[in-house]
């Protein structure tokens, strides 16, 4: 393992007031702390979603099982899907992005630090609201896709669907605000010399995802608000017998829902595109192809939504169009995989846990991509859709792909974020156990699905020929849980007793490795200058580019923090201007949450709910006032 000769952060910190303890976290506007809050809260939700999955797997382990009642089972799969997508994968990606993007582009924070804080609080409160439903009449039980008209009040009378609408709504606002923040940050705050085509690929993918998000998410938000009005206020958008259209919901939902898949997977493709070059000691092969294939995937992602609807009866012509568009996605996806392989080709592969997860991503994502081909073909799709085959396909993409990618990122950046190394031995145990048990869990689902097992059934008959596949899946899922416990143990012990992480433990090439681990609150004492895609390697290996062949003799390596990156004379520093800590975003979020509770009960308990909404609005107003005041204090004319 390469060790950086010197660590950064030797300059004396500028005057930044960080409140100690809990208050520091509640009032923070630091992108790094917000990133950690995203990661921790998303991981907690992720574990809860995993427990829901385990309960379902136990129920399905044997035929005619009675471990869960059908209604509880239906709540479990609804909450599992909703949790993993909105409260698990998405915010894990946002958390890594929040922490890393400003560091990787040489910025001191996000463009809108207070908006960033609002995003994390709205996300946390949205997630909590969703889970409150368990204690007030039952969680939503209509599937994460919430097909109309099953979501109407006559079929789903509990408030579960309302909590789903408002909870998803809050996280949606958080996501849209976050996406705008990423776009403005990435487009405006890159260090001098970092053109778009010199940005790290993780930043590229976060940028693409942010654009996908601001086009896709509002569609979901509008659809769920229409649903809310259908349920409580007498509209009939999705009520077929009153002039509405049940299929309209599916169009709106999947116009969001398919791009959502790329919102989940593209950032992890970005992680892979950072990890593979670092541990292959080579640049990414075909930077432009990797970056622009991401753009192509993001664009095509908006043209394929109806491949979720081939059995709906849209007609052969529509199905053929959406089938063809879906096939097209195989092209940019294939390009990425070949470029990753070429990056490893003739490299010097350092098989760290992070690298293993990146390789695992490729290996499993290939399977998920191949199984997607048959789903893109309308005739085959109508046999496989709504069967366990889809469950298998989707988990190979989102677990074998996205989750493994996120683990690659966590093992890669944990030292940067905490200043401690994760235990590599435990990490490798976790990787192998996870790879094997993941395949045990999800591979048999291809087979049970093609043997006719529909999705979302809480029980099945013994004579259907699915018993063995389900038993293997259940055993695999229990082993998967062990792999996650190993990770949890690894994090909890390493964060206290792990070896101290140097600034640049992996011999990285991007700017985050130029600063200390963890970075100072202001990130960079002096804004770095960038001359290529690998600014840190330019500094460390100034003679590298002159040689074309393999360097048999060790290349002379200089300290990573040479001139352009950090000047070590504090006198030379310009004053560093950072936003003040503030509770305003938290207060606004609390107000919005109370408003949300009021909206849920407005149709049933008008007066009480209306008063709650008023209280929420007042709290929100107070928060906004405090927000305006603090932003005035922080404005460049006022400060210093």
């Amino acid at each position: 393992m390469a060790i950086a000769e010197r660590t950064a952060g030797t300059v004396s910190p500028p005057s930044v007031s960080v409140r100690p303890g809990w208050a520091g976290w509640l009032s923070t506007t630091d992108h790094k702390r917000i990133g950690i809050m995203y990661l921790v809260s998303a991981f907690v939700f992720f574990l809860i979603g995993g427990i829901e999955a385990l309960l379902m797997r136990i129920q399905l382990g044997t035929p005619n099982n009675t471990f869960l009642t059908p209604d509880v089972y239906n709540q479990m799969f609804t909450m599992h899907g909703t949790t993993m997508i909105f409260l698990g994968l998405m915010p894990l990606n946002v958390g890594l992005g929040n922490y890393m993007v400003p560091l990787m582009i040489g910025a001191r924070d996000m463009a809108f630090p207070r908006l960033n804080a609002l995003s994390i609080w709205l996300f946390i409160f949205g997630g909590l609201m969703l889970y409150v439903s368990f204690f007030v009449g039952g969680a939503p039980n209509v599937g994460w896709f919430a097909y109309a008209p099953l979501t109407q009040k006559q079929f789903a009378p509990t408030a579960g669907v309302d909590y789903w609408i408002v909870g998803i709504g809050l996280t949606g606002v958080a996501s849209i605000a976050g996406a705008l923040n990423f776009i403005v940050t990435i487009l405006n705050m890159r260090a001098p010399g970092m053109t778009l085509n010199r940005m790290p690929l993780f930043v590229w993918m976060q940028l693409i995802v942010a654009f996908i998000l601001i086009f896709a998410f509002p569609v979901l938000t509008v659809a769920t608000i229409q649903l809310l009005f259908d349920r409580h206020f007498g509209t009939r958008f999705f009520l077929p017998n009153l002039g509405g259209d049940a299929v309209l919901w599916q169009h709106l939902f999947w116009f969001f829902g398919h791009p959502e898949v790329y919102i989940l997977i593209l950032p992890t493709m970005g992680i892979i595109s950072e990890v593979l070059p670092t541990f292959s000691r080579k640049p990414i092969f075909g930077y432009a192809f990797v970056a622009y294939s991401g753009v192509a995937i993001g664009f095509l992602g908006f043209l394929v939504w109806a491949h979720h609807m081939f059995a709906v009866g849209l007609g052969p012509l529509a199905n053929a169009f959406f089938g063809a568009a879906s096939f097209l996605i195989a092209v940019p996806t294939g390009v990425k995989i070949f470029n990753w392989l070429a990056t490893m080709w003739q490299g010097s592969l350092h098989l760290t846990t992070s690298m293993l997860y990146a390789i695992g991503f490729i290996g499993m994502f290939i399977i998920g991509g191949i199984s997607g081909i048959t789903l893109a073909s309308p005739p085959i799709n109508v046999q496989q859709t709504d069967s366990y085959y889809v469950v298998a396909h989707m988990h190979y993409v989102l677990f074998g792909g996205a989750i493994q990618g996120i683990f690659a990122g966590i093992f890669y950046w944990f030292p940067k974020m905490t200043g401690r190394m994760l235990d590599e031995r435990l990490g490798k145990w976790q990787f192998w156990l996870m790879l094997i048990s993941f395949n045990l869990t999800f591979f048999p689902m291809h087979l049970s699905g093609n043997a006719g097992m529909p999705r979302r059934i809480y029980t099945y008959e013994a004579e259907m020929g699915w018993n063995l596949w389900n038993l293997i899946s259940t055993i695999g899922s229990l082993l998967l849980a062990v792999a996650f416990l190993i990770f949890l143990w690894n994090v909890l012990t390493s964060i206290r007793r792990g070896p101290i992480a140097p600034a640049d433990p992996w011999d990285g090439a991007t700017l985050e490795w130029a600063v200390s681990s963890p970075p100072p609150v202001y990130n960079f004492a002096v804004t770095p200058r960038v001359r290529s895609r690998r600014p840190l390697w330019d500094e460390k290996y100034p003679h590298l580019h002159e040689v074309n062949g393999s360097h048999e003799a060790p290349v002379v390596r200089r300290g990573p923090l040479h001139d352009g990156f950090e000047r070590e004379t504090p006198e030379a520093m310009e004053p560093i201007h950072l936003p003040s800590p503030t509770y305003a975003p938290l207060i606004v979020s609390v107000g919005i949450m109370i408003l949300g509770f009021g909206i849920i009960y407005l149709g049933d308990f008008g007066l009480i709910a209306a008063s709650a909404m008023l209280v929420g609005l007042l709290i929100m107003a107070a928060g906004i006032l405090s927000w305006v005041r603090i932003s005035h204090v922080d404005s460049p004319h006022h400060a210093h």
């Binding site: 059908p70 209604d71 209509v142 097909y147 109309a148 099953l150 079929f155 077929p240 017998n241 259209d245 049940a246 299929v247 292959s280 000691r281 432009a288 059995a311 009866g313 052969p316 089938g323 096939f327 195989a330 294939g334 390009v335 070949f338 392989l341 003739q346 010097s348 592969l349 098989l351 390789i359 290996g363 290939i366 081909i373 309308p378 005739p379 085959i380 046999q383 496989q384 709504d386 069967s387 192998w432 094997i436 395949n439 591979f443 291809h446 093609n450 043997a451 006719g452 097992m453 529909p454 999705r455 979302r456 099945y460 259907m464 590298l544 040689v547 074309n548 360097h551 048999e552 060790p554």
Partner: protein
């Protein structure tokens, strides 16, 4: 990094390959197996899947093989500080592997569209059957076949002729359901406010398992039906019998030690205070309820409560007593709770009802289970 994990990686990939082959080999006679088609629609899908499967296997072996080879060949030797050649890319190679997947998906797309066109055909001479989804059972109407312009109405068993195209007209009464007979045809949604069509021909006689494949509420998992494909002559015989209402009930049946009387059972069934006729209909009687399944010739059903129990008088007796347990959320047991049944129906009355429902039978030679 020692060599153990690498061999593990190879081993697990090998296991996957074995798994794939086992998967294809395991085309046993599972009742829902899509690799075991008995209808033209499902067969064309299966025949499209086979070449795609081989292409997929080829891609899988090549790409995973390259990945594993790269890991093995280019792993860092301990103590090595070598910096490899810094290759940034190769436009020609990259264009090549952009075109390669494009060609593969083009081939797949052409194959796909051919199959799609064939499966979208709705023959003029097809037998039309209307299938209506309810929470949580399937209703079937034969519009062109009933007496005096009225369709034959039945539930849970869909009789079709072998060798003649069938076009199923799909509708829904409440929420979205999904009509799936894996061995005969792909899925098609049943959507309230919309009419869908699905055409297929059963190639061999058989009793085929079928399910609702779209989540439709609490008892979605218990919403099943059977497609019973019989020779055209047998099918016509079935139609002729179904056209005439069941004869006046007579005879007795011993259920759980009690002797049920069919005629008495009919009187109980038609008694408005016993609530049966509020939802159920039997042709030729005053029972004209529209909410629940039509119970004409109930004694010939293959299953009880939409495919969840094999039809036997004992199971019917059990269903009348334990419906909420057997099928949580079903409408009948929400209205007629177990307490209501206890107060309003004696054991003898239940036995009579069972005897009545069992007495209505059509004669049909059943094909084998597939």
């Amino acid at each position: 990094m020692n060599s153990l994990p690498r061999s593990f990686l190879r081993w697990s990939r090998f296991l996957l390959l074995i798994g794939l082959s086992v998967g294809l080999a395991a085309c046993g006679n599972n009742p829902g197996n899509t690799y075991d088609p008995y209808g033209d629609n499902a067969r064309r899908i299966y025949e499209l899947l086979i070449p795609i499967w081989w292409m997929a296997l080829g891609v899988f072996v090549v790409v995973e093989g390259l990945l594993i080879y790269a890991i093995w060949r280019f792993r860092r030797r301990p103590g090595s500080a070598t910096i490899p050649a810094q290759v940034h890319g190769n436009t020609q190679v990259e264009i090549l592997w952009t075109i390669a997947p494009a060609i593969i998906v083009l081939v797949i797309a052409v194959l796909t569209f051919r199959t799609q066109a064939a499966n979208a055909v709705m023959p003029e001479d097809a037998l039309r059957i209307k299938a209506i989804g309810h929470q949580w059972w399937f209703e079937f109407q034969y519009p062109d076949t009933g007496a005096d312009g009225k369709p034959i109405v039945t539930a849970s068993d869909m009789y079709i002729p072998v060798g003649r195209p069938v076009t199923v007209v799909l509708e829904s009464q409440d929420v979205i359901h999904n009509f799936w007979v894996p061995k005969l045809a792909g899925k098609t949604y049943m959507i309230p406010g919309k009419t869908n069509f699905l055409s297929f021909t059963a190639e061999q006689p058989g009793i085929y398992r079928a399910v609702c494949a779209e989540f439709c509420g609490e008892a979605h998992a218990l919403m099943r039906f059977r497609v019973i494909a019989v020779d055209e002559a047998e099918f016509n015989r079935w139609i002729e019998q179904k056209k005439t209402p069941p004869p006046a009930p007579a005879g007795t049946l011993v259920v759980n030690g009690l002797t049920g009387d069919a005629a008495r059972g009919q009187a109980i069934f038609l008694d408005a205070r016993k609530q049966c006729v509020a939802c159920h209909a039997v042709e030729g009687t005053n029972a004209r309820g529209q909410i629940g399944p039509n119970l004409t010739y109930y004694g010939s059903r293959q299953t009880i409560a939409a495919g969840i129990l094999p039809y036997t008088p004992e199971n019917l007796d059990r269903w009348l007593r334990e419906a909420p347990k057997l099928k949580p959320g079903n409408l009948m047991s929400r209205v007629l709770t177990p307490q209501w049944i206890k107060q309003n129906l004696s054991d003898q009355e239940i036995a009579d009802l069972v005897a009545y429902l069992d007495s209505m039978k059509v004669s049909v030679t059943l094909p084998p289970e597939r």
